[in-house]
Every structure is written in structure tokens, then in C-alpha cells.
């Protein structure tokens, strides 16, 4: 029983990163109708930034958030205006998809050349602290990851619900043309959504570097997991995306414990395909990620 509880808690804590990444994907998909497959690569890239800031300059990973997230936001704006602006305007979404694929492939291989495939980890003094509640051990950094994810989800939720620009972002995911007719710059709306999406990747990167040892090959896996979480949670639902990430973490954690570590990936993809086939609206029944034919 204790073991099961421990496995469940580990799963929830591991799922936080999927959740953060899925919120980002959801924002980008909502406004631009593209699946940003390079999200995972961006997370790993910012994990390396955190790792560098920590090992070279001795900056604490949680302080790095103040640097990483704004930098990631700017990178997002830059990527949008240099690469995705024109592609977002055309009907054929395959162009944007392939742009993201190209970006992912380039960034992954750049990191592989730059940092090699050796796993890295921001080994802070508190990385191994655990908090003991009853018989269950909870790692401090993992708990922090959950807190950060919840805060991030709240901030994004507040932005979307309570600010004028956030309302425009939500409106844009329903009808971009109508948004334009109100005099609102569609490019700015998309750029901000994209910037926040990458900003969240920056945040997830900090979490990754502080909790796990990672290598460049994580990027692709993470993009896929975030996508699974997105499909589970349904589009346009911040809390849905976050919860789906946590659920995915639990599924993987259970799978790894009861079936075997190497199978965790296969299980989450199987869940993904099953959800795509049987519950295209996601498990929370929100707006469909995909329109039925």
C-alpha cells in the first residue's frame, strides 16, 4: 500500500513537467492551429541554460526562473516573427508542422554536438532533500516542481481570463478573422501566445534541470508526452492540460513499476492512440482537439 502510494505520488510529481509543456502546446495550437513539435527540444535547451547558469555562474535554479522565462518568452517572439508568422497565415498547416520538425531536428542535434549525449543535472545542495510524510518520501525538488506548475497554470489562467490581451488570445482560437476586424493585430496575439508557450518551456527546463538528469534525446520524447497530455486534456483548457499531464505521469509511473521501466513510453503512447481514437475531445470532454470528418 505504501509502495503504491509512493508510486502514485512520484507519478503526479513527474507529470508536472508534462502538464507545463502541454499548457504551452495548447496555447500555440489554440491560436495558430499548429502542433509545435519542437516544444520538448526547447525545454531541454532551457534545461541546459539553467545547468550552465548553475554550474558556471553558481546561480540557483529557482533564481534562474527569473532569467529563463523572460529569455524563453523573447525567443518565442523571435521564432514567431522570423519563422512562423507567414506559415501561420496560410491554410496549409503542414508547412508549420514541418517548420517545427526542422527546428526540433536542428536544436536536438545542435545540443548533441554542443553538450554531447552525457546526462547533465544541476546538482544543488538541496537536490536530495526529502520530506517524510507517514511512510511516504517526497523529494523536495519534485514537490517544488508541482508548486511551480500550479503557479504557472494559475498565472496563465489569470492572463487568459482577466486581461484584455488574454481575452483576445481566447477569442483568436475561435475566430481569427473576427479578431482582426476589431482592429486587433492577429500577429501580436499569435506572437504572445507563442511567446508564452516557449516561456513555459523555459520554466519546464528549469524544473527539468533541477530534478532530473537529462540529455538532448529527451526533447523529442518530451514533445510527444506533452502532446499526449494535450490530447488527454483537450484544447483550450489550462487546468485540463495540467491535470492530464499529472495523469500521464501516474500512468507511466504505475506502468514502470508494475510492468517494467522500458515499457513506460510504450504505455503512454498506447494511451495516446486510444484517446485519439475513442475520446477525441479529451478525457475532460472539452472542445475537440480535432474536428471530426
Amino acid at each position: 500500500m505504501t509502495i503504491l502510494l509512493q508510486v502514485l505520488i512520484n507519478g503526479v510529481l513527474f507529470g508536472t513537467m508534462y502538464g507545463i509543456a502541454a499548457i504551452g502546446l495548447s496555447l500555440v495550437f489554440g491560436t495558430m492551429r499548429i502542433i509545435f513539435l519542437a516544444q520538448g527540444s526547447m525545454i531541454v535547451l532551457f534545461a541546459y541554460l539553467t545547468y550552465w547558469l548553475f554550474t558556471l555562474l553558481g546561480i540557483d535554479p529557482y533564481v534562474c526562473i527569473l532569467i529563463s522565462v523572460p529569455v524563453a518568452f523573447m525567443v518565442g517572439l523571435g521564432l514567431f516573427y522570423t519563422l512562423f508568422k507567414d506559415a501561420a497565415a496560410i491554410e496549409d498547416k503542414n508547412v508549420s508542422l514541418l517548420l517545427a520538425v526542422g527546428l526540433m531536428y536542428m536544436v536536438d542535434n545542435l545540443m548533441l554536438t554542443f553538450w554531447t549525449a552525457n546526462p547533465r543535472f544541476a546538482a544543488t545542495s538541496y537536490a536530495s532533500y526529502t520530506i517524510r510524510i507517514g511512510d511516504v518520501n517526497i523529494s523536495f525538488v519534485r514537490l517544488m516542481a508541482l508548486v511551480i506548475a500550479l503557479l504557472a497554470a494559475f498565472v496563465v489562467f489569470y492572463f487568459l481570463k482577466r486581461t484584455r490581451l488574454g481575452t483576445a488570445v481566447r477569442a483568436a482560437s475561435a475566430d481569427m478573422q473576427a479578431v482582426k476586424l476589431l482592429g486587433i493585430s492577429s500577429n501580436w496575439v499569435m506572437a504572445v501566445a507563442f511567446g508564452i508557450g516557449i516561456g513555459l518551456a523555459g520554466l519546464a527546463g528549469v524544473v527539468m534541470a533541477s530534478v532530473y538528469s537529462f540529455d538532448p534525446n529527451y526533447g523529442f520524447t518530451f514533445a510527444l508526452k506533452a502532446l499526449v497530455a494535450l490530447a488527454l486534456g483537450g484544447i483550450g483548457n489550462v487546468w485540463g492540460a495540467l491535470s492530464a499531464g499529472l495523469i500521464l505521469g501516474v500512468i507511466e509511473s504505475l506502468g514502470a513499476y508494475y510492468i517494467g521501466a522500458g515499457w513506460a513510453d510504450a504505455i503512454s503512447y498506447a494511451v495516446f492512440i486510444l484517446v485519439l481514437i475513442f475520446m477525441p475531445n479529451g478525457i475532460f470532454g472539452g472542445r475537440a482537439a480535432v474536428k471530426k470528418v
Binding site: A87, L98, G102, Y105, N109, K180, S185, P280, V290, K292
Partner: protein, 336 residues
Amino acid sequence: MKALYRRLGHKGLISLGIIVAALAALGTLPFWLDVDASYTGYYLFITCVYLTVAQGWNLIAGYTGQISLGTHAFFGLGAYTMAGLWLNGIGLYFFFDVTLMVVAGIAPAIVASIIGLLLLSRLKGDYLSFGTLGLAQIVYVLFVKGGKITGGANGIYLDASYFSSMRVYYWVALLVAVLATLAVWLLTRSSFGLALKAIREDDISAASHGVNVLKYKVLAFAMSAFLAGLAGSIYGYYLFHLEPASVFNMNWLFYPILMVVLGGTGTIIGPVIGSLICSALFAYGDIYFGGYHPIFSGFLIILVMRFMPGGIMGLVSKAPALWRKKEGAVATTTPE
């Protein structure tokens, strides 16, 4: 000759002449160039393997407008099917067995049909991409974790003593690539191709005009998987040692995509040009830049999609339109 001229016209006859000449030159190449000693032999062999995969991807992406991201799974499945059958003594038991190769294509085609039916019957094509990507990762894990059946992460070994000369490889790969290109060309010119194009433009309208959208999408997808599997079997004969990390490598997904988009998606010559160029880049990239060339490949995909999403063929066909644009302004949608 006159009848041929009447059918093809001036341009068609010239194209036909160029194709015949090129095929004759490529077909007889091993007689005047030592393909074993020269790097060109390997280069052209691998180009043909890529081209076969690329034409399959082109069929589904270029002609139905859907992106499959499971090509590497079908490629690897093809290679493993061939190797598994060979090791178990099934087939006629000789090198480059046609039956084995065809079965190696059919196996992934069946998998593709099943996943295609499941995904495409309920969802619009956008998510086919991600379903196939998920499927590919599952297949990879199955092969790594397959224990004795698949040889696990170490893979399986074939009898390498069959290798005699690159000549056989070259001819087989060339023949298959030419047949694949021809098959895709014929398919797209048939009523099948017309249906695919209708689906690409507007699947709802196609459906309302009596086109069985699902059937055509799944068929195109299965055909694409068949070609990937076929190419996989040829590459399997070349490797003799199959391991998940090599035959399920993501490069078997990304490189063919790059070749198609660089050459021009939805054109028949585009992938040919794309694979010749890209293979050369990779081959010489390997020699001069060591392991860096994947970075350039990614960069190249970005450049092509950013500045010429129609690929090289797109530029060729757009050239006259650009010329005309200067004469009179055309109503443009405003950026904002």
C-alpha cells in the same frame, strides 16, 4: 515515332528522351564504373533506398495532404520482416528474394491499414501525424523489449557471407526506386490519383461527390508503408546486422521528408531531385563535417519551408507567375 510525338508533344518527347537516357546511363553504370571501389556506388544505392521511402511519403503527404510521421516504423518493420523470414527459412531461401521483399512491404502495409482505419475513420488527418508518431514509438519499444523474438536492443544477425558485390545492391535499389516512382506516377494519373487530389483540396466536398474518402486515405497510407517496408528490406540486406537503433532510426523519417519538401511535395520529379541533392549533402557532410550534418539538415528543412514551401519544383512552376505579377497588381489579402 509519329504516333508517339502526337501523344506526347514536343516537350513530352524531350522529357521521355532525357528519362530514357538517364535510366540507360544509371542502369549500365556498374559496367563502366567500379561501384565497389568508388564511393559513387554507395551514394547512388543509398539515394535509391531513400527515394523509395520518399516517394511513399510523397504519395500520402503530397497527394492527400496528410503528414505521416511513422515512416521509420514501417521501414524498420520491413527490414525485420525480411530478416525474420530469412532466418526462419521461409521463402525461396536466396539473397534478395523477391517474395521476402514483397512480404516485407506487405507487413507494414497491414499495420498501416489498421492504424489508418482506426485513426482516419474518426479524426481529420491532422492527428494521423501524431497517431503514427505514437505508433512508431510503440513499435520501437516492442522491438527493443522483444527478447529472443526480436533480439532485443542487440538486434539480429544475418549471414553476411552472401555479400559478393555492391553491383547487386545497386541494381536492386535502382530497380525498386524506379518502379516506386513509376507506381506513384501512374497512381496519381489514374482515377485513384484524382480522388486523392480531391481529398487534398477539400475532403468534405470530395465525400459529398461520392469519393470514399476513408478508403482512399487508407489505401494511400498503406501504399506509402509498403514502399517504406520494401526499402527497409533492401537496407536490411545491406546491413546484415539489424538493431532497433539503426533501422528504426528517426533519420528514416526525417531524411525522406526533407528530400520530398526540398524537391517539391506533390510532384513526381521533386523527390528524385531532392533525394539526389540531400544524399549528396549527407554523404559529403559525413566526410567533411563529421557528425554535424544533421544540424544542417534541420536548418535546411526550416529554410525550405520558410522561403520556398513549394520546394525546387515549386520555384520552377512559380517562375512564370512571378513574371506576370509585375504587369498588374493582384488583390492581396492584407497581413493584418
